[in-house]
């Protein structure tokens, strides 16, 4: 297959004795036994991994960068593009409104207080990263209808 053709599967390297934390949390088979059907569990420890784990955070940063490179005219377009990439559909108007409200509020939350030297990311970028992070954590992304 040509590398620029769309694919339906994701490939990754599995090292036998090094378990991947993400796959483990989501019931990946152990590869020692034949597994006809994977377990499907829903646990708060998965949520902790998704919302605090470094891998998902870096995926969110990567997605945010990709959106920024897309040079959308305004926030509405960014949101629409994000929905297309993550959910494969266009957002409706109330979804766009909710998302842009979030971006605005989150940018405020990410604005460092006077004298606070710890924050280094520009608030609007931080808000976009958080938005992407939420989309990647959402049920619509995690579950196939």
């Amino acid at each position: 297959m040509d590398s620029d053709q769309p694919r339906s599967k994701i490939y990754t390297k599995i090292l036998r004795n090094r378990r991947d934390a993400l796959l483990d949390a989501f019931d990946a088979p152990d590869n020692f036994n034949s597994t006809s059907e994977r377990n499907v569990t829903t646990t708060p420890t998965q949520s902790l991994l998704m919302i605090n784990g470094p891998w998902t955070l870096s995926r969110a940063r990567a997605l945010a960068s990709r959106l920024q490179r897309g040079q959308a005219a305004d926030e509405k377009q960014t949101v629409t593009q994000a929905y297309r990439l993550v959910y494969g559909r266009k957002p409706n108007s109330s979804e766009v409104a909710a998302a842009t409200a979030f971006l605005r509020d989150q940018a405020k939350r990410a604005t460092p207080k006077i004298g606070d030297k710890t924050v280094s990311t520009d608030p609007r970028t931080a808000a976009l990263i958080d938005f992407c992070h939420v989309l990647l954590n959402s049920s619509e992304f995690l579950y196939v209808d």
Binding site: A21, D27, D30, N39, V40, T41, T42, T43, P44, T45, Q46, S47, L48, L49, I51, N52, G53, P54, L57, E95, A98, F102, D105, Q106, R109, A110, T118, V119, T121, A126, D130, F131, H133, V134, L135, N137, S138, S139, E140, L142, Y143, D145
Partner: protein, 475 residues
Amino acid sequence: MPEKLKRRRTPHHEVNLTRRDMLVKGGGGFGALALAHLLGNGDVAAADGGGPHVKPRATSVIFVFLEGGPSHIDLFDPKPLLTKLAGKPLPPSFAPVITPMGEYDAPLLASKRKWKRHGQSGLWVSDWLPHIAECVDDIAVIRSCWGNGLNHSNGVCQMNTGAIVGGRPSLGAWVSYGMGTENENLPAFVVLEDNVGKVVNGPRNWSAGFMPASYQGTPLQSGPEPIRYLYTPESVGPTRQQGKLSFLEQLNRRHATSRKDQTELEARIKSYELAFRMQAEAPEAVDLSLETERTKQMYGMDQKETAVFGRNCLLARRLVERGVRFVQLYHGSGSKWDAHSGIEGNHSTNCKSSDKPVAGLLRDLKRRGLLDQTLVIWGGEFGRTPMSEKGNGRDHNPYGFTMWMAGGGVKGGQTIGTTDELGLHAVEDRMHIHDLHATILYLLGIDNMRLTYLHKGRPERPTINEGAPCRKLLA
């Protein structure tokens, strides 16, 4: 035919029940409470006005599960006849059994143990469990357990879910459903495996089965970091975290509205909510550095062999102290107790690593005044055969084996039931796994026939319509 039956109409199709019908037919009392809660009736107490079915004695359970099948005839059920007949085949007077490894006419294997009566109650314990032996006055040993699962897969499944095939909710899920949680900031049902070996079939054993997914057990990690990713990354900070989680809930709720049948979605939403609350409360709960050195030594955390399981037992105590309803501690996960050969080496090692931690747990619960309300259960999926296997091992024995219970309203210092003279079949006061489960539920205040969950038109019960509690166990 009795008059009553003649007049009864049997519907040929399932009638759509009104919410009121479901509350009533769901089995009054505790079951209806839980059902009402599920139907979104927020005020659970008001729905029925009732509470527990029977007087609750225990408020939480710690189930020490020795995976692989510990040999009861080498631990709690001495058999002098076994010593006498060692080397001979099983006498024909004993009903023959199917053994999973199929070694028929194998010579009987004597127990090499030294046996003594312990405590004031004089219970028999072998020299493999010296620490637990000192706690016998609080322990009720049940020698007459039996089940239908001949192999690990169906044995562990039945001991957890009541059925030898998967798909039913685990006991912890039923308890979680029937009683809810005392602490909203921690999972109601927690599971800990003790090594990299996995319990056979894994999550099937702590699953919610056909009940909503939020009742399944939450596995924690054995070791210094039981709950990973508990902390919000510093680069994010609490305010942004809160913002993210609120927006996430908004999206997820909207998504779930048009997919009401998918209980996983509701469970996923709840799991994020719980994760957020856990961030606040769980760090303290799992922080063992807050315990004194003396306490840690009681559990054997300062010794190499008992360090891992000791830690898990101490963690269990802290969790039930903070309102976790059901903690399942697997010891030897990966069927490590499964001594088909070399039972001496196998059980020696396994007893060494579990004996002191379990005794430490009992002692610690007792001195903190927690033992009365915490039901501690000890046992595996089955016991082992008096007939040898591969010369120096024993095969699986679900026909008669030992479990014990302590605390939570159990009358300690007694032995209930007997097996035959070789420890093969349970004979007196036979306790099927369903009876065991019925007893556990009873101690928690739940009637196993009254706790129901309506599934596909059938009121499902934790003990699959069987099982009765053992009254002798009650204090």
